[in-house]
C-alpha cells in the first residue's frame, strides 16, 4: 500500500497511540471504512482526491478518534475526580506555602540575611512551593484518572457532610473568651513585673525587661483596654464590620510594631534572663540574636497578621 496517500497518513497518525496488539485490527477496519466512504462519494460523482479529503475531514483529528476507540479520557482531571482534586489543592495551598514562608523567614533571619535578601528568598521559595504543590497534586490525579480507580472517597455524600455555619465571631462566648484572655495576659504581665515568671538559678525574675515599667507597660495596658472595648462593641452590634476590622488592624499594628522594635533593640526580653540562658545553652540559642529571640519575633508578627486577617474575614462573612 502506498504510505504517502492521505488515508495511509491518517491511519498511521491514528494508530500511533494505539497499543501494539490492537493496531492491526483497528487499522484494517479504519482503512476499510474510509475506503468504503470514499467509494460512496466517488459513485456520487465526486473526484477521488476531493472525496478522500472530505471523508478524512469529517473523521476529524486522528488523535481524538484513537482516544474514542480506546475510551481514553481527553482531559487532565475529569468530572469524577475534579472536586477531590480541587478540595485537596485548596487545603494544601493554604497550608504548605505558609509553612514554607515561616521556615524560610526563620532561616533567613538566623543566618543574618538583609531584609532585601530575606524577602527575595521567601518570595521565590513560596512561588516554587505553589508551583510544586499544583504540579504534583495534578500529576497524582492524572495517574488516578488513567488507572481506573473509582473515587478517592467511595462513601456516598450525605447531608451530614454539609459544612457547619461559619462562626460570626460576635457571639457572647467570643466576648467572654476575648475578655478572659486580655485579663489573663494583663495579670501575667503585672505578676511578671512584681514577682517574676521565670525561675533561673534558684530565683524568680521577670521575663520582660524591667525597664519597660511603667510607661511601656502602661501603654500596652491602654491598647489592651481598647481591645476589650472593641470586643464589647462587636458583641453589642452582633457582627464584625469593616470599621471594627480596621480598628482591630490598627490596634494590632500599635502593639506588634513597638514590640518588634523593642525586641530588635534588645529591650523587650529581660537581658538578665537572656544572659543566664545563654550561659546554659549557648549564645546562638538564647543570645540577643539567638533562635529563641527570632522565633518570638516571628510569633509576634504571625499572631498580629493572622488576627488582623481574621477580623477582615469575619467582617466580609457577616456582610
Amino acid at each position: 500500500m502506498d504510505a504517502s496517500t492521505l488515508t495511509e497518513r491518517y491511519v498511521a497518525a491514528a494508530l500511533r497511540t494505539v497499543p501494539e496488539h490492537q493496531r492491526a485490527d483497528i487499522g484494517e477496519e479504519l482503512r476499510g471504512s474510509i475506503a468504503d466512504q470514499i467509494d460512496a462519494r466517488v459513485e456520487g460523482g465526486e473526484e477521488r482526491d476531493a472525496a478522500e479529503r472530505a471523508v478524512l475531514t469529517d473523521l476529524g483529528d486522528p488523535d481524538k478518534l484513537a482516544a474514542d476507540y480506546l475510551d481514553r479520557p481527553l482531559w487532565l482531571v475529569g468530572p469524577r475526580y475534579y472536586l477531590d482534586w480541587l478540595r485537596l489543592l485548596k487545603v494544601l495551598l493554604w497550608i504548605v506555602p505558609l509553612c514554607a514562608a515561616f521556615g524560610v523567614t526563620l532561616g533567613q533571619v538566623l543566618t543574618g540575611a538583609t531584609p532585601g535578601e530575606g524577602i527575595g528568598a521567601v518570595v521565590s521559595v513560596v512561588l516554587a512551593v505553589i508551583v510544586h504543590v499544583c504540579f504534583w497534586v495534578t500529576l497524582v490525579f492524572f495517574i488516578l484518572e488513567r488507572t481506573g480507580h473509582q473515587t478517592t472517597d467511595p462513601t456516598p455524600w450525605t447531608p451530614d457532610r454539609l459544612p457547619e455555619p461559619r462562626a460570626t465571631g460576635a457571639k457572647f462566648v467570643d466576648l467572654v473568651c476575648a475578655l478572659i484572655i486580655l485579663a489573663v495576659v494583663a495579670g501575667a504581665i503585672v505578676w511578671d513585673q512584681l514577682l517574676g515568671l521565670v525561675r533561673l538559678g534558684g530565683e524568680w525574675m521577670p521575663a520582660l525587661d524591667p525597664r519597660l515599667w511603667p510607661w511601656w507597660i502602661a501603654g500596652l495596658f491602654v491598647l489592651m483596654a481598647a481591645e476589650a472595648i472593641l470586643a464589647v462593641v462587636v458583641y453589642a452590634r452582633r457582627s464584625w464590620t469593616l470599621g471594627t476590622a480596621i480598628v482591630k488592624a490598627v490596634l494590632n499594628i500599635l502593639i506588634a510594631v513597638p514590640a518588634l522594635w523593642l525586641l530588635w533593640d534588645q529591650r523587650l526580653i529581660n537581658p538578665e534572663v537572656l544572659s543566664r540562658l545563654s550561659d546554659l545553652a549557648g549564645e546562638t540559642v538564647f543570645g540577643p540574636a539567638g533562635i529563641v529571640v527570632v522565633i518570638i519575633g516571628l510569633a509576634i508578627a504571625v499572631v498580629a497578621v493572622w488576627d488582623t486577617i481574621d477580623g477582615f474575614l469575619k467582617a466580609r462573612r457577616s456582610r
Partner: protein, 111 residues
C-alpha cells in the same frame, strides 16, 4: 453560542442513547462499519462516522456485540452482530424509549 448551536447540542444529547439502540437492533443481521452507517441514515438515525466506529468497539468490549473478519471479498471487513446480551439490552432500551415517548405525550400540551 448562537441559538442554532444550542439547539444542535440539545438534539445531539437527546439522540445519543438512541444510536446505541438502533445499532443493537440493526445488527441482529450482521453488518460492517460503513454499511451500518448507511443503514442508520436510512432509518433516520443519522450518525457521524467518528462516533459510530468507536461506539461499535465499546459495545463489543462490553459484550453486547460480537465481531468476525470476513475476508471473502476484495476488501476485508469486520462484521458485527448483536449478542444475546445485546438483544436483551435492545429490548430494555426499546421498552424505556417507548415509556419516555408516552411520558412526553402525557406532558401538558403547549398552546
Amino acid at each position: 453560542m448562537t441559538e442554532d448551536d444550542l439547539l444542535e447540542t440539545h438534539l445531539q444529547e437527546l439522540r445519543r442513547g438512541t444510536v446505541v439502540l438502533a445499532c443493537l437492533r440493526l445488527l441482529a443481521q450482521p453488518g460492517y462499519g460503513y454499511g451500518l452507517l448507511e443503514d442508520l441514515e436510512r432509518h433516520g438515525f443519522s450518525t457521524d462516522a467518528n462516533t459510530l466506529y468507536p461506539l461499535l468497539r465499546r459495545l463489543e468490549k462490553q459484550g453486547y456485540l460480537t465481531s468476525e473478519w470476513n475476508t471473502d471479498e476484495a476488501r476485508p471487513r469486520k462484521f458485527y452482530r448483536t449478542s444475546a446480551a445485546g438483544l436483551r439490552l435492545a429490548a430494555a432500551l426499546t421498552h424505556e424509549s417507548r415509556a419516555i415517548a408516552a411520558a412526553i405525550d402525557a406532558l401538558p400540551e403547549e398552546d
